[in-house]
């Protein structure tokens, strides 16, 4: 299974990496339990910064698409197929839209929502 990234595209490199791994899972090219290369190997092969690959792996791990087990390395998660269909960005956008809608309905202005959102993010 080969992966290809394009440094000319506007899509961030870590996103290209994540999308292709998820697509490979959905297409059945990567199956649960299949081992993945280490961050160092993949970063060097793709001539990317290690942090870029680490970021993609971290998000995929958070989404339970991959799992990392110490010396045994990284592999495809058992529930990767269903988890690859979930787009976290879409999910966040939907939830946020609902919240903003309900805040507006309760009388909050856009400016107040922005300030409150910014304050909450800062305090997290």
């Amino acid at each position: 299974m080969r992966i290809q990234i394009d440094t000319n595209l506007s899509t961030p490199l870590f996103k290209q990496l994540m999308d292709q791994i998820k697509k490979a899972v959905m297409d059945g090219l990567l199956k649960p339990g299949d081992p993945l290369p280490s961050i160092r190997q993949l970063a060097n092969d793709l001539e990317l910064n290690h942090n870029t690959v680490a970021k993609a792996y971290r998000i995929l791990e958070r989404d339970s698409v991959i799992k990392t087990k110490g010396y045994r390395g990284t592999s495809i998660h058992g529930d990767a197929i269903q988890n690859s269909t979930i787009n976290m960005n879409d999910s966040i956008t939907t939830k946020l839209s609902e919240t903003i809608k309900s805040l507006r309905e309760s009388g909050a202005t856009d400016s107040e929502i922005r300030i409150a959102f910014s304050n909450v993010m800062k305090n997290q």
């Binding site: 080969r2 440094t7 081992p35 290369p37 001539e47």
Partner: protein, 281 residues
């Protein structure tokens, strides 16, 4: 047979093998690439002018001719100078170190060549295989097991000889030195397997072949270095020190032979060096 005569024969063989036969095969390989894969058809193979590479090849050839001259001079010097033979091994060792300089030069040239290739590489698309590389993908478990077994035998051998309290014997320092050599080989192997891509155009299959060749060489050299160390100690124990210079020369033959394992040119995918990379890259 006279030991001195045997030394001259073995040393002559070392000179011809490492400074004539080995570079000749290397130069044939380089010139075959120049001829069959010219810059107009394979521009990515030549990040700099082919004339520059031809000059480097010529320099390599001249350096090896100098090594032949130096080696033959050494044999002549051995022949005409009365000597005890005590320093023969050291002299043969240092001659090999000098004899090896053109090969080191070639390695440095290869590093510069790949750097130039990377600097000129404008491909925005990068490709990788989503599969972890493991040592056993490149070398058989049998070879790996043999290296481990010989290492255990080597440590046992050192422990055995250590009981006799020979004043000249370095004891476990030998194990430390061999372990240091292994560490050095390990770093080379690790960099080849997981390090940065040296040649940005090379197909993944060719890269795997290169890694496999290197790994086999490193493991074979590991076996050779341990067997050689045990032989050297044994020669000293049995009072056969006069054979040490011959044995070190034979060892260098083995090292040269192991370094000469290159992938066949017709198995290499040269299409990747064409202007438009092949889809199979």
């Amino acid at each position: 047979m006279n030991i001195d005569l045997l030394l001259y024969i073995v040393l002559f063989s070392q000179i011809m093998f490492l400074s004539y036969y080995y570079p000749r095969r290397m130069l044939i390989r380089i010139h075959t690439i120049f001829k069959n894969y010219p810059p107009n058809e394979f521009p990515k193979l030549y990040p700099e002018s082919i004339e520059k590479y031809k000059k480097s090849a010529k320099r390599y050839q001249i350096m090896n001719h100098l090594m032949i001259g130096l080696g033959l001079g050494l044999i002549l010097w051995f022949y005409i100078t009365p000597r005890t033979g005590e320093w023969d091994q050291v002299i043969v060792f240092w001659y090999f170190m000098i004899q090896f300089l053109p090969t080191i030069g070639l390695e440095l040239w290869a590093m510069k060549y790949h750097n130039a290739m990377r600097l000129l590489n404008k491909d925005a698309q990068k490709e990788a295989v989503l599969q972890p590389r493991r040592l056993t993908d490149f070398v058989s478990k049998n070879l790996l097991g043999t290296v481990i077994l010989i290492y255990v035998i080597f440590v046992g051998f050192i422990a055995y000889v250590d009981q006799f309290d020979y004043p000249w014997f370095g004891g476990y320092l030998n194990v430390l030195i061999i372990s240091g050599v292994f560490l050095f080989f390990g770093i080379i192997g690790y960099r080849a397997m997981y390090g940065k891509v040296k040649n940005p155009h090379q197909s993944y299959e060719d890269r795997k072949t290169d890694i496999q060749t290197l790994m086999r060489q490193l493991l074979s050299m590991s076996i050779a270095v341990m067997l050689y160390a045990m032989l050297q100690i044994s020669l000293k124990v049995f009072g056969l020190e006069s054979f040490k210079a011959i044995s070190i020369s034979l060892y260098f033959h083995v090292i040269g032979f192991l370094s000469m394992q290159w992938p066949r040119l017709d198995f290499i995918n040269f299409d990747v060096y064409k202007d438009k990379p092949a889809l199979t890259k």
